[in-house]
Structures are given as structure tokens and as C-alpha cells.
Symmetry: C2
Subunit: 405 residues, 2 copies
Amino acid sequence: MRDVVVLGVGMHPFGKFMDKSLKELAYDALSRAIDDAGVSLRDIQTAYVSNAYAGLMTGQESIRGQVVLRYAGFSDIPIVNVENACAGGATAFREAWLSVASGLYDMALAIGVEKLYCDDTARSIRAIASSSDVDLMAGLGFQFSANYAMGLRKQMAEYGWTQQDFARAAVKNKRHGSLNPNAQFRTPVTEEDVLGSRLVAWPLTLYMCSSIGDGAAAAILCSAEVAARHRGSPYVKVAACALRSAPFEDYRQPPSQPKTQDPKPQSSAHWLPVAREAYERAGLGPQDVHVAEVHDAMAPAELRLYHALGFCDPGEGARLLAEGATAIEGRLPVNPSGGLSARGHPVGATGLAQIAEIVWQLRGEAGPRQAQGPDGHGPRVGLAQNSGGNIEGHQAVTSVIILAR
Amino acid sequence: MRDVVVLGVGMHPFGKFMDKSLKELAYDALSRAIDDAGVSLRDIQTAYVSNAYAGLMTGQESIRGQVVLRYAGFSDIPIVNVENACAGGATAFREAWLSVASGLYDMALAIGVEKLYCDDTARSIRAIASSSDVDLMAGLGFQFSANYAMGLRKQMAEYGWTQQDFARAAVKNKRHGSLNPNAQFRTPVTEEDVLGSRLVAWPLTLYMCSSIGDGAAAAILCSAEVAARHRGSPYVKVAACALRSAPFEDYRQPPSQPKTQDPKPQSSAHWLPVAREAYERAGLGPQDVHVAEVHDAMAPAELRLYHALGFCDPGEGARLLAEGATAIEGRLPVNPSGGLSARGHPVGATGLAQIAEIVWQLRGEAGPRQAQGPDGHGPRVGLAQNSGGNIEGHQAVTSVIILAR
């Protein structure tokens, strides 16, 4: 397959935009991506569009992408609507990558757009629960926050992590978000603020959790040959895209032995299979990653992801965080954008906001939240991990995308 | 890109199945496709799943494919949910084709599943209307039958077609459906029956229209190399997949001159752009097609499609039909399955039912509805045309897939 580059990215800030439609949000993100890429609408040959909940929020099913892209001025290109819950944006990116890598098209758009704020918050909550098996789970009251809380309690037992460790993740990401003009939450918080905020599902408190949100994000991908013909920003290569369905983690398995009895877990056995696949496809390892955006729908989810992505040994996440290694100033900044818990999480757009952040980081354009990279000349390899949906306690979809300059 | 073959197909009969869930319908179609291909579940490396309305019908959004395929026994393969209204099944097939043609995977599943029957028909009707721009159209009462009726009235003015011509299309397809054990409607009708059935929107009467329906259909695609390693049925090559968005036809343009003043429209200017693209990719032309499944959501839609696919000159469709050329016994059987108007139209599954029919026809396995091909040895090239959704009077998506043995 051909080398593919990300020629441009753009996003509409995430937040609460009651007076903007899906069409307007998408148009804004698209316009910014087109400007960033230095191309025109006519250069784009195909589009993959991610949206999770318009069917339930506005009644728009089936042709969501055609509707928003026609508003933006597209006419007769192939448009494919993709869904994969919170990983829908990552899935759109991967399919757009494949459409170019295969040689079928020279330039493709991946765009994600979501509106979750409305006059009826119960509707938004029901919509989000539809990313589980509705026959078995949503109908019985399943909510993602409770499911995350169960996983975190298991990790507390397994690794000795505390609620304070979890609060530190929220503090870090809210600080990062305060430096990001596209973030939904831009107010820094303290550990005391986090621990003192309303309990959602123990050990989760309100300030650890992502919110509902509105927003859009887009990426324009093209072949390396075509990229060379366009001016526009310096571009970034797609080193690997990997996508998997459940099992992400299996809560039904007995917990493993306490960490103290297992002092040298050096293998990659604890990695996410999808991460292993991405590293293999990229010919890289976790030690090569200089910046990452990970799926902290609840900020404490980061801690387990650190070892699931190979950034540390199992259970070492709390120490890594406490040492500041994953802060913007650290050796491996994680969620410099603020992550889902601070930048925001308009579901179908999230995966592409991660891509946008990694691209800005690799191009050295992230301003006050810019990662410095191993030698002070900026990061050269970035990773975006995204997951979504839940079936019987398993994450239904996980994605790892690696970009490099 | 690599050559890709359809190793096996399967479908759950289309119809009204109040006691079967999406999971059960999908499992049935998948099992049949797996048996037909002579493979096991473990051989399938990725899946593309089409469903249009579960979000509105059952509340299942976002991870529809993961939910139905987990029930079927899949674990951790990449699953992508695609939507493109009535062309969703064709889109899933195209994306599965690309995943194999690109070399990313050796074997892929495309499956479409839909349930439109429920205790509340108004819900089903609202769901279907969501395949338009809901802001501009569904909210104002848009229905597909009325939109088709407007298009047909324009064609009557333009080509001199009559309501009797349109009835003949329904008679042909209902007769074909009567020979198909998978068809929703298996009772032959006469022209008098069709013209005497309840008026839906002039010139459309009830027997000309497809109904809501339940069902599922699946195809297993693999590389030519892998196909050679499997026993199973003789297989069929994918000669081309092409997909486009609107405009399909532009009702806002002034009608062209009456046909009598334009006696020699020999060019391909009237072809669907997506058909021209498919023919070019396949290195074939309309004269090479021996059997076709086309999108007759309303049976009379066939007549225009005959010239839009290059099977005749503009306006010659009624004559082609009246001569019997497009009946099973004719030189170019169209909709031998019965088409949408008789085999049925469970929206997300329809495109893959078309593929299944073309595969059976090319393999000579279509029983009493078998096309004979140009030399009596069966058809060698088959075409499936699928379209869906509507934005401002334009079909939002169109697909043409050409298969060959």
C-alpha cells in the first residue's frame, strides 16, 4: 500500500453550542482543515463521516454525511457514513487512510461531528447508552460511568491505586485543557476540587468525567506524491492504523495476582492487542512515542492505558503520572489537548480531534501546550488511542493510530 | 490493487418476522454465507455491517455490527458500521472489497440487516423518512413514494410513458419474485391487479411499491489467492465497485427536449456517472451485462434505470420491458430476484441481497428464475445498482457493482 500523509486538520471548538446545527459545526471544521491543507473542496475525492447519535438526537439517520457535506458544498463524491461509538472518528480516519493507501483515491476527507446538548438532557443520556447492547444492557440501566467505575475499583484492588491517584489524572488533563482554545473545559482544578466535586459512581467524581458536548473535527489525507504538489502546512505521515473489536478487557476473568508477587512483567502480554498491531505495522515500539492522546472518557482511565499501550509496566501508571512524566513538560506528554475529560467528548468527533492534536504537536504548532520531544526539537512520533461502545463489560471497539513526521 | 472474489453469499428470506431480532436475522444470513463459502468464522478477518434504522426502530445505535456479530460468535476482529440509506448494503460490500483489494486483509465479511416491521407502523414510516435531510424535508412531510411519483410524472411527460407501462414493471417483478423462495411477495399479479390496487401517489399504485420488510444478507469476499485454497462453491470476481453521492438526477433542471426532436441520443451522456465509472473500472460496457439487479423501490423506477445504465437509449425503457427483453427469459433479465418491489426491501440488507442474487445467477444456481445468458450457458457478467436517501430531490447515494465469472 502507498504512503499516506495528513495534509491538514481542523476542528470546531468542543463545548455547548445550542444555536449551531450539525451542518454548521461540520462546515466550520471542514473549512479549517481545507485552509490548513491548502487545498480546495474540489481536490477532495471521497469522504468518510462519523456521527454517533444524530438518529436519536435530531432524527437524522442514514445519510448524515451527505446532509452535512452537501451543506458544505460537496456534490457527487463517494461519501460513506461510519459509526463505531466513541471510536467512530478514528474509524473514519482509518477508512479514509485505506481509501488512499489502496490507490483508489488520491485525497480523502475524514470528518466527525456530534451534537449532544439539547433541551432534554435525558435524551442525550439515553443516546449515549445506545452504544451498548440495548437488548441486554441499556434496557437494564447500563451507563458508561458506572461501568468505568467498576473497572477502576478492580484496578485499585489489583494495583493499589487510590482515588487520589485518579484525581491527579483529572488535574493534569484539566490543566492541559486550560491551555487549549478548542477545549470545552478551560478552568484548572486542584486535587481537592476534584475529590470534593459531586460523586458520580465511586471512585469517580464529577471533575474526573467527560461531559456531553458539541463539536466537529476533520482531517484531509492524501498520498505522499500528491502532498508534494501542495503547499500548505508541513505534513505528517500515517505510520499505522489499527482497529479491533471486543475484547478490550475482560471483566469476567479472575483478577491477576497482586503486583507485589509479580515483580518483572516485562513482556508485552499486557498490551492492548490493537496497540501491538499498530506498533508492528509502524515498525515502532512504545519507547518511540513522544506524545499521545488517549481515551480518558473518565480521566483515571489513563492510568491503565499507560501500561496497555506499553508506556510502563502494569500498575506503574500512578507513579508515572505522579512523577509528571505524562504532563506537557514530561518525557511523554499524554493528552496535551486536555483529553476527553477536558477538551471534551462530542462522541463521533473525538477520534478526529485526537488526530488534529497529534498533527499540531508533530508540526510544533501546539502553542502553550506544545510537547518538547526527546531532544527539545519537538515530538517526532505521536499516538492516538480511541475506544468506544460496550458489550457485556467489554469495550466494543478500540483503535490505535500512529503518526510520524 | 488485488483481484477480489465473492467466495460465498447467504440471506435470510425477506418478509415480516415479528419474532426475530436483528441478531437472529444476521446470524442466519451469516451462517448461510459461511456454509456457502466453505470457510469458518475464524477465517474472516474483518467485517463491514450495514443497517439503516435500528437507532430509530430499537434504539440500537453506534455499535450495531458489534452487537449482532458478537451474538454470531465473533470476538476481536475489526468491525466497521456503515450507513448509506438504501445503498448501505452496497456500501458495506464496497468497503469490504477495498479492505481485501488493498491487501490489508485476505477475507472480509459484508453483511446487512434490517428490521422495519414493529407494532407501530408510523414509527417505521418515520424511520424511512430519516433518509432525507430531516431539517428541510422529513420535517415538512417528505415521503419517498411521493418523490418517486414526481419523478415518474416528469418521465411520462418526457418519454410518453404511461401508467400501464409502469404496471408492466410491477407485473414482471412480482412474477420473478414468485419464483424466489427468499422473496417477500410471491404472488403473481396482472396489469389489472396493479392498476386496480390502491393509489399511493399518482401514478404509483400499491402493487408498484416496495414494502417495509425484515431480513439480512451477507457476502464473504477474499483475495483470489485465498479463494484458490478453499473448496466451496465456484466463485465470482468483483469486476468493479463504484459509489457516488448526489446528484443522481436534478429535478431543478429544466426538462430536456421531447424525445421526438432528439432522435439520436447515442452517447453515454445520459448514463449515471456511477455507472460510467463502474464500466470504466471493469473495462466493460452495458452490452456486456447479462443480468442485472436494479433499485426498483418503486417498480416503474426500472424504466429510467434501463437507459441510465446504458441498456437502451433514453426513453426506450417501456419498449424494452414490453418486448420482454428484461424478463427472466429475455436477453437481459433485470431483477430476476423480484427486485425491491417483490423480493422486498429491508433497507440496510437490500444491496447485499442484490449481490447474492447476481452471484447465484452467475453460478447457475438460481433455479426457476435462472437467466440463460447470451449463449444459453448462463450469464457471465452481472450488475447490481443500488441507490438511497434523498436530498433536495436528488438521490443521495448511488452504487454500481459489476461481478463476473
